[in-house]
Symmetry: C2
Subunit: 662 residues, 2 copies
Amino acid sequence: MPASQDIALDRCLFAKMLFQRVSRGVVTIASGSWTKVTCKCCFTDAVRPLLVIELNKEVRLETKQWIISKIEAPANKQGAQLLAHPGEDDDGDMILVAAPTCTLLRKAEAVGLSKPYRDGTMLAFSYPDRASFKNADNIEELLTLAEQQYIAKNELDDLKAGTNESIPGCSKDKGSLYPGEPIFQKLEKSGIVKTIYPLHDKEKLSAFSEQWYSQFSSWELPLDYIHSYFGGPVAFYFSFLGFYTVSLLLPAVLGAILYFLPWHSVNGHVLLAIFNVVWSTVVLELWKRRSAELAYGWGTLLLNSTFEEPRPNYRGTMGHNPVTKRWEPYFPSAERKRRIWFVSTPVVCAFLWLTVMGMVAYFYLEWCVKDYYSREPSWLSMPLLYLPSVLHILYVDFMNNVYKTVAHMLTEWENHRVESDFQKHYTLKVLVFSFINCFAVLFYIAFYKQDLELLRKRLASLLIVSQIINQVTEALVPYLLERFFPSQGTKQKEADPHIDKLRAQSCQSEYPGLFAEYIELFVQFGYLSLFSCVYPLTAALLFLNNVTEIRTDALKFCKLFRKPFVAPAANIGIWQTAFEALGFVSVISNCWLILISPQVKGYCQENGVSFRNALLCAIALEHVLIILKVVIAFVIPDLPKWVRIKVAQLEFRSRQALKTVA
Amino acid sequence: MPASQDIALDRCLFAKMLFQRVSRGVVTIASGSWTKVTCKCCFTDAVRPLLVIELNKEVRLETKQWIISKIEAPANKQGAQLLAHPGEDDDGDMILVAAPTCTLLRKAEAVGLSKPYRDGTMLAFSYPDRASFKNADNIEELLTLAEQQYIAKNELDDLKAGTNESIPGCSKDKGSLYPGEPIFQKLEKSGIVKTIYPLHDKEKLSAFSEQWYSQFSSWELPLDYIHSYFGGPVAFYFSFLGFYTVSLLLPAVLGAILYFLPWHSVNGHVLLAIFNVVWSTVVLELWKRRSAELAYGWGTLLLNSTFEEPRPNYRGTMGHNPVTKRWEPYFPSAERKRRIWFVSTPVVCAFLWLTVMGMVAYFYLEWCVKDYYSREPSWLSMPLLYLPSVLHILYVDFMNNVYKTVAHMLTEWENHRVESDFQKHYTLKVLVFSFINCFAVLFYIAFYKQDLELLRKRLASLLIVSQIINQVTEALVPYLLERFFPSQGTKQKEADPHIDKLRAQSCQSEYPGLFAEYIELFVQFGYLSLFSCVYPLTAALLFLNNVTEIRTDALKFCKLFRKPFVAPAANIGIWQTAFEALGFVSVISNCWLILISPQVKGYCQENGVSFRNALLCAIALEHVLIILKVVIAFVIPDLPKWVRIKVAQLEFRSRQALKTVA
């Protein structure tokens, strides 16, 4: 069945069902909004199922009805003001959720999304002035699918329990709710709701997915499509990946020239080291500008800051929140700080120490084995030579997995109130560890052993071997698994092909998040900016890797995983800082690599420059490069001129509007 | 005559005059606001003359009348909606300006001033909700004098010419106005208005000025009074000065102990260097918190960003502003950038080079003279020994004055559109030069000559001599001059003692701005954080200096200069960054001073540590200290917890309000 028919069926089903319920008088939607003539959404085919709520199979009918009533109740009755339809599958454990136009529009204003105004500029969407926006009568054009799904999810998350409310059909203990408790958090925690996920739209997806992951000839990623379908963070990830890959062309060409030229001069080496530092700074600054352009085009440059609800796992004794004065679990921040400084930090340091010790043990063991082999070379002791490497790889992998679990547990135990704080602390922990884990060996070789030949070999093998392994485990294996051993859900056919499609999506595994992808880029960027001056082919290899990476990542999003929920985003967030920090470390490593390079050493010996003076020169170079970085960052404005003017226009406009009101 | 009677007279005069004019039907104030019963300000004694506009003596009556009509016209007729009164002095060249309550309140909302709400929290003032604020019925309590004067000045600055308007009583050439041209800028440029200045209120001033500059025993500055009388930037300057002076106690005590102890160990020297770095970081971070607390209390923590009008000296061909679409002088920013990079930057660099060359010449000359004297010592050649120092001091002073003029001219020629950009570029130019001018000799001695004994002597003489000179020229001389040779204005007595007082203020010289004061602190802070580890008494000397500095500066504000106009401020602005930048440079200089100190050198020789290894240690220490600085800055939150909670409450409140509206 072609995808378009499939969707048409979706809509018909939904519209029919709603129409029946309206005519039977079942729909209890807010009269305030539904009596308006302009709000005709439930009778048009614009109603589109956005989310699926999958319930536990044991859930009783009354609980299910209560959930549906909560979803459909108007805002003034503490409802989510959405449309819910009990899925018509055999088990009856699915609820399809759609959103009426008015709910979507109101929330779009609250989130602070900008949309194209009549006169073509992007303006913060305003519900009272909605008619003045382009596509005002077509919600599908006005709000992207990702935005609609985010808004619907957000409305569900905002559902709060009233006073003396409890979940019907549940035991007293399991179903009790304190006033103001987020209902869906409780439902998920108590296992009543198994999962909530946004639905794919095969028609929309197929419109751009081919271009995205099949056409190797095409350079342009369908970013606008990606943004409207998968949402901000995903689009920003792919924009960054694409931008970074194109930026790699220059160092790739320069590196290849230096690598293949017989002429290994001092100048070439020093040039490449300085080029690396400047290049990384300029690329990150230009990316900020590109990112601002994209955010302006997508209407997310000036998002409202939102007041975040507590995380589902946030625990604490009940108390009054000092900000909102609401009665909710409260955990003193002094206690959290104590946990961070006196438990998490030492544990993280211990892990870093274990990693470094493992590395030292590896080098020692290798030295021992080589020593032994050189004394008693035999066929029998030959495999021993590989033992240290194998042991170290196993150790690193083991530590990596253990650390990630421990970091997650620690951050959970630190009990952050909001998700963004949790993510910040978790990211920081993993970043520091990844930095040490990936680069410690290279730093050890460069700074302690001072063996540039070994560094070059190690870097080359890391780039080639680990990238191949990554690609295989990341995309090929899941793809083949899915192809030849399709997951349970797709096997058992149900009567209704529509429900069948839903089931198939529900059986896909959840997308693990962009975190791992960014870490991968972070490590790549590290190899390039920290060490690539000793192995000029780095950029070229990374370029080749990323050209395929874009495709395999695209495949993951389109085929392998469930569609993720993503909030609107204005940039790549904390990762910009992480990459910039790497840039500063790269100044140190490049200056050091210049200092100890055989070319510079040879030059010093020839010209009678003492090591002391060479060292002083390297320090001077380091300080000059850091100042240069700061100057470059200062000179290149973060917003392109046209975006600056647009933003200034917006501000001027809102100030004028304020004056008129006053 | 006591001060309070003086003010009473002011008010009577004004009220009487207004009453007469109202009864004669002359007052043409906006009926919209004046017919309201609540707005009774012009008949109460709350009307207070805020500003004086001093006109050129040759101005014709019709011009004067036109100016007054513009000031008094309501907002919907493009007027400033203020109250104007032609001064009753003999020459008739003064206009007194007052502001009606409604104008003040409306503007307070536009500026984004926060005021105490009914429930005690600070809330952004809202005109429609004005009754809910404390002191709602008493404008004198609600808005400070400085705020009222700023608002009145701002209203005058906002006066724009209509289409086909021109200044009456002027030649065609001099009086022509383009539509939208700021009227008072034009009036000042064409010399019709000589000057505009805010009036002192002797009663209010005397309430706190004694405590401020006379009581040496009192530690607490009357900051709230200073804020309400002189406004944000002045209050922040004195808060910073006070905070910094108190912070000096710790290094002063530590330094004195190290100085007077016979025990000049390695540890003491290294300790003081590291202490300096950590201390400067911690003090600046704590100041940020203190500054946020003050700003919250003064209601300026969350000011609205204002759309700045072009500077009076902004020139350009007439064109449409790309942001406002208004017809006004327009100067392309590409041309400005070209001027900055290709003219200003080389000129600044040339001046820096001249300064450094002057210093080199001084050292060379001194060496020559000493050499000559050692060969032919005589009474005749003795004075020659002082020649290099005298010449260098003259040269430095000459360069300093020339540079400031050149920097001002260059920044003027760069043609910045708004005052804040102008100030930013001018400050940057002067800061860089001051840094080189003040510290070049010390850096030369420390890094090139590596003569710590000379560095110590130089620092001591700089601290003692230059500070005494500063104090004398800054405060004592103007004070004595004013006392024994009172300026012209105070001599010729007029009939009216009230007008006499005004004349006296008009004859005071304008306050030159806080720029010079901050530069002085910047240089002080530099001596302390960059070099004080070789001369531990630095902090103690600076402490003594600042204790008097606070008083002399206070005297300047209260007695010597005209009251300045100042806009509300949320912090010390660009100076925070300047001081923090100095902190980073201090890491380099302290590590270097540790490395070359005789104590460390002796320790290395004793223990057989090579210079190379000592250098590597110093570099390692530098990097560790920089990381430490960054960590300290990250760990100490910029806002104290209670301010964070207040701000979060405000945000939550406004978000709730938004929800209720939608």
